[in-house]
């Protein structure tokens, strides 16, 4: 293994550590939301600092590799992909922190009815699954696995699109629960963004391994 190979392996290992942390945060966010566990929500908010620290470190590591090794071809694409994935992961961390902050502001668990109607839990599970899938795809360098995320994102988008109407209807029939309903709508929006982040990361993995740019292409084209 060359010196550069060693550095690239280190970079990959650090990225996976950060990714694992963010996925854990996402999972804790879900549990804190469903059980209204404010302590867990506080834990998520506190742990966000670690995510930020990882972001700074990975940025620096990528900068050093560019400066010292002038990587080309697949190595260049890998470092470029990690730079972007780093950004995606940090944003996902921010989103989860936002969800945890909502949990701190809510007074009681969400009404089961509105959760079921909006399919919010299903959406959260889908977002979780997308993040796990893309991490596995990154670790195993499996572009077929990465591509499955585009289909999963359709479910997330569908739930998001339908949420407005469903929540509006719920508010009309449960005017005392307006605040709660609006929080839930915000959380759904955030989960839709998590889906987008996962999708972006899948695109970066495909770029790094296959040198294909999938940005701004249709979902059908991406799945091929």
């Amino acid at each position: 293994m060359t010196h550069l190979d060693i550095e690239l392996q280190r970079l990959k290992a650090e990225t996976i550590k950060m990714w694992t942390l963010v996925n854990l945060q996402l999972n804790k966010g879900k549990i804190s939301l469903l059980k209204l566990d404010k302590d867990l929500a506080r834990e998520v908010i506190l742990s966000e600092r670690r995510v930020n620290a990882f972001e700074l470190k990975l940025d620096r590591d990528c900068e050093n590799i560019f400066a010292l090794f002038n990587p080309v071809a697949v190595d260049l694409r890998f470092v470029l992909a990690v730079l972007k994935i780093n950004n995606n992961l940090e944003r996902t961390g921010d989103i989860v922190e936002g969800i945890a902050k909502f949990v701190l502001n809510v007074d009681h668990t969400f009404d089961k009815q509105v959760l079921e109607l909006t399919r919010a839990v299903e959406m959260y599970l889908a977002a979780n699954n997308m993040m796990e899938t893309v991490l596995e795809a990154f670790d195993k360098e499996d572009t077929s696995l990465a591509r499955t995320v585009f289909q999963q994102d359709e479910l997330v988008d569908e739930i998001n699109v339908n949420a407005n109407k469903i929540v509006a209807e719920y508010i009309r029939s449960h005017p005392d629960n307006v605040e709660e309903a609006l929080y839930l709508l915000s959380i759904i929006r955030k989960l839709e963004r998590v889906g987008d982040q996962a999708k972006n990361m899948a695109e970066e993995i495909i770029f790094y391994i296959e040198a294909k740019v999938l940005k701004h292409r249709s979902k059908v084209e991406k799945s091929k």
């Binding site: 060359t2 010196h3 050093n64 400066a67 010292l68 090794f69 002038n70």
Partner: protein
């Protein structure tokens, strides 16, 4: 303690001052790259560490060069012992007109080693250290000139390693080599630093970035900046350094 130190070093070729007040401290088991435009004094500085400049007439040194805390320019220093401890590899591979085996064994014999078994062991160890053994083990009695340029250069490094130095000086060791041989020598430098302290002059800034821990930028005989290589190539403190490494001059 530092492995190599230069303190307030000035160096003159006759009346012409080639080095001005150089202060550098090099840690053990590191690779230090000396970079700078042609004529800046980096090779002159390198040659101070094994007193090769003594061979040039009418030169003068002020200041101190310390290796393991001892000033190597003090009266009474055994220059042969110094050059055994501080090996050198040059730009153009310069194997002796001897067999591959004898190229590496020669230094041992000249230093009084006569035991055949020890010589054979040290030759094999040295050639293995430079990752050349598999390529030459079946032709040790062949002339070194039959090897490719990259192999010859690795043989020259093995020759330097055989007499067990603690410091290796390299003056543009890959500038005459093809990219693959260059890559092999660079990987070798990365491996060797676990056991040796290496100082390398290079015109190739990307090489300096790839192989070195610290980098010293020279300009017109002065040390402009000396720092961790990462810092030099990501955020140098001196504008002149930045201009040089970005190719804006030199």
């Amino acid at each position: 303690m530092y492995k190599i130190e230069s303190k307030n070093v000035d160096f003159f070729y006759g009346t012409s001052q080639a080095l001005k007040n150089i202060n550098i401290a090099i840690m053990q088991n590191t690779v230090t790259a000396l970079i700078g435009p042609s004529g800046c004094g980096k090779s002159t500085y390198l040659r101070l560490f094994n007193r090769m400049n003594d061979l040039i007439g009418n030169t003068k040194l002020n200041g101190q060069i310390l290796i393991d805390g001892d000033d190597i320019y003090t009266k009474g220093v055994n220059v042969d012992s110094l050059r055994k401890n501080v090996g050198m590899v040059f730009q153009k591979p310069n194997p002796f007109p001897k067999t591959i085996f004898e190229n590496v064994a020669y230094g041992l014999r000249v230093n009084g080693v006569t035991d055949k078994k020890i010589i054979e062991e040290r030759v094999e160890t040295s050639i293995k250290q430079v990752v050349l053994w598999d390529e030459v083990k079946d032709k040790l009695k062949k002339s070194a000139f039959e090897l490719s340029g990259g192999q010859q250069q690795r043989l020259c490094i093995a020759r330097a390693l055989a007499i067990q130095p603690s410091v290796i000086l390299m003056d543009e060791p890959t500038s005459a080599l093809d990219p693959i041989s260059t890559s092999k020598v660079e990987e070798l430098i990365y491996e060797l630093k676990t056991k040796y302290t290496i100082v390398i002059v290079t015109h190739n800034m990307q090489q300096a970035g790839r192989v070195s821990d610290t980098t010293a930028f020279f300009y017109l005989g002065e040390l402009v900046e000396y720092d961790n290589t990462k810092t030099i190539f990501t955020n140098p403190k001196i504008e002149r350094t930045q201009n040089y490494i970005t190719g804006r001059f030199g």
